[in-house]
């Protein structure tokens, strides 16, 4: 059969809209496909998505296998996994990418188990390279690069003997390219392979909670660590953020101690951000935090401990008490003229 051996992306939709991470993955897939000299394709499940799927073309996806079924409008594990497995069996991509979201991390392992193929979770980088195993050299394999052991180690994982190679990637990790409004995608209808008795999960209620912050889109982030989590310091963090038109981020212990909600958390288990400016206030700069912000264009670190690791990656370091330093920054900005 004319298997194309393309790079495929699992398209996640929420409320009829394609998730940002899926578009980011289409861009990543295009870069990989460029090296492999193949195409980018996608699989989408749901209902009334035809128009929305056109957006995939703007990012370089040429074909989307679309399984339209009212019962697939909302995610449930078994029907989604079975459908994706069937599409993969039929079209035989060499690589399949999923968002490392609750949905992607639910469906991808089930798919990998059914296909007995390798799957690497939460990759931070994907490359193409060769790998030698038992005296056989495999060319053009997917190098799946990810942190392991609490972020202390970077591992490169390969799965050359099984097909496809599958990986999940968190939102914000891959760069979203400029959209090309003239890019076209062909929507290829696929039959739904699942029967009613595969729908084993009954959805009782879906509650959408508006996100309070949008860290990913922020150009400037003022971020509070445990050194800036008392009410006085936090108020100064908020004030500076308001003045600069910035969003407020934070480290994990600030979330764990209930000071700020989880959407504010930057880092390995939080959100990966790339703002123009990141102001780290009372953040020690542990590896798990840095994993989410080290690619900011400019980093200002404020910490009273001159040895704090955050200073190793900061472009500007200010040693001092956060309250004192933030007050000075606010004053300097207000009198900027």
């Amino acid at each position: 059969m004319g298997a194309a051996n393309n790079v495929m992306v699992f398209i996640e939709t929420r409320g009829g809209r394609i998730a940002d991470v899926s578009l980011e993955l289409v861009c990543a897939a295009r870069r990989l496909a460029g090296q492999l000299d193949c195409g980018v394709e996608a699989v989408a499940l749901g209902y009334e998505l035809e128009d929305e799927l056109q957006r995939l073309g703007h990012y370089g996806c040429r074909q989307v296998y679309y399984v339209a079924d009212r019962r697939l409008a909302h995610f449930t594990s078994v029907p989604y996994a079975k459908t994706v497995v069937e599409v993969i069996r039929k079209h035989q991509p060499r690589i399949v990418l999923f968002g490392a979201t609750t949905m992607g991390r639910d469906v991808a392992p089930r798919v990998a188990s059914a296909l007995k193929c390798g799957l690497t979770a939460d990759c931070t980088d994907l490359q193409i390279g060769s790998h030698e195993l038992k005296n056989v050299v495999y060319e053009n394999v997917l190098l799946q690069i990810r942190p392991a052991f609490g972020g202390n180690i970077i591992a490169t994982i390969v799965s050359p003997e099984s097909r496809p190679s599958m990986a999940t990637v968190r939102e914000g990790v891959m760069r979203l390219d400029e959209a090309d409004p003239d890019g076209r995608v062909e929507v290829v209808s696929e039959a739904c392979p699942v029967g009613d008795d595969d729908f084993l999960t009954e959805i009782i209620e879906i509650v959408r909670e508006e996100k309070q912050v949008n860290l990913k889109a922020a150009q400037i982030i003022v971020s509070a660590g445990m050194g800036a989590s008392d009410p006085e310091a936090l108020e100064l963090v908020r004030q500076l953020a308001r003045l600069l038109g910035a969003e407020v981020g934070c480290s994990r212990p600030v979330v764990d101690s209930g000071v700020l909600p989880k959407d504010h958390q930057v880092g390995q288990t939080g959100i990966t951000v790339r703002p123009n400016l990141y102001i780290a206030c009372g953040i020690s700069g542990q590896i798990q935090h840095r994993a989410g912000m080290s690619e900011a264009k400019r980093i200002i670190a404020i910490n009273k401990d001159p040895q704090a690791p955050i200073f190793d990656i900061a472009h500007y370091g200010i040693i001092g008490d956060v309250r004192d330093v933030l007050a000075k920054m606010i004053k300097a900005y207000r009198t900027k003229a």
Binding site: R14, G15, A19, S77, T101, T102, M103, R105, A108, P109, R110, A112, S113, C117, G118, L119, A121, D122, H131, L133, L143, F149, G151, N152, I153, I154, A155, T156, I157, S159, E161, S162, I203, I204, E205, I206, R208, E209, L244, N276, L277, K297, R298, I300, F311, D312, I313, Y316, G317, I318, I319, G320, D324, V325, K328, M329, A332, Y333, T335, K336
Partner: protein, 289 residues
């Protein structure tokens, strides 16, 4: 009668203080060099099972796959009120990725049999993959509910849970059998009971090929567990080809420990003048408006 529940628990290296030396040449972990702990979210999975047992009765059986030392986490399960524990241990399981791990655990679970609920932690902190749970469910051909933030309601046939998702949450229900992956949000794990610690502190392991001891689990006959059951490749009827390294499609190509690359950094004096100058510089470069 109450549901029959199986909880999978893993002993993991404490990932807080790990360096490159803790890794072996082949890219696998040198566990001996690291303090080993009970995987945190597996304690949440166990707690959820024990809570259901408190409410409805039933049995809680814990399974761990790992080296002989993993018996320690199974003892911890007994201290908290698990009814029985099984250690799946064999050199041939070594080097397993999530696929080979879920295969071995699936074989062990089938040998226990008759389950209503399987509870796993959402993820293990050594790899943070969150794959083993869903892969066990797929191999058993049962439904799964992942990333559980709370159990809303449970009865003799079904369970209703709250799942946290990116843009809010959902309340979903499944009939038994179903596999759940539980997050730290779901509960506060209970501590060990002194009485149980006393009775199980010196419990030993016993390699056994015999099938699962049903009589033990029938209500009324519940005497204390006399040993930790230890099962190997043969006792769970596993195909050795699908176990350990040979059953693992993913290979570690390379391991690097993370090194800090210090960047060009400018020390700003903590004075009004120093900070004003910094702010002006950022404005001049259009980084702030």
């Amino acid at each position: 009668m109450g549901p029959r529940m199986i909880v999978t628990v893993k002993q993991v290296p404490d990932t807080h203080n790990i360096t490159g030396e803790a890794m072996k040449e082949d890219g696998t972990v040198n566990r001996a060099a690291l303090p080993a702990i009970f995987n945190p979210e597996d304690l949440n999975a166990l707690e959820e099972a024990l809570k259901i047992k408190d409410q409805l009765g039933g049995t809680v059986i814990c399974i761990s796959m790992g080296p002989p030392n993993a018996a320690e986490v199974l003892k911890e399960c007994l201290y908290r009120g698990a009814d029985d524990v099984v250690l799946v241990s064999d050199r041939r399981f070594a080097g397993a990725d999530t696929l080979a791990t879920s295969y071995a655990l699936k074989c062990a679970i089938e040998k226990v049999g008759g389950y209503d609920l399987i509870l796993c932690g959402r993820q293990a902190i050594d790899g943070d993959t969150a794959q083993v749970g869903p892969q066990i469910a797929e191999k058993l051909g049962i439904n799964q509910l992942t990333c559980i933030a709370a159990v809303v309601q449970v009865d003799e046939q079904s369970i209703t849970v709250k799942r946290s998702v990116e843009d809010g949450y959902e309340i979903v229900r499944s009939q038994f059998p179903v596999l759940l992956t539980v997050t730290a949000e779901a509960n506060q794990p209970r501590t060990a009971k002194a009485k149980l610690v006393m009775s199980y502190k010196n419990i030993g392991k016993e390699l056994c090929d015999d099938s699962y001891d049903e009589a033990y689990l029938s209500p009324g006959t519940c005497s204390a567990v006399s040993h930790i059951k230890e099962w190997n490749v043969e006792s769970i009827g596993a195909d050795p080809q699908q176990c350990g390294l040979s059953g693992s499609p993913t290979k570690v190509k390379k391991i690097q420990s993370v090194v800090l690359t210090a960047c060009e950094s400018k020390q700003i004096p903590n004075t009004e003048a120093g900070i004003a100058e910094l702010m002006h510089e950022l404005i001049a470069e259009n980084i702030i408006g």
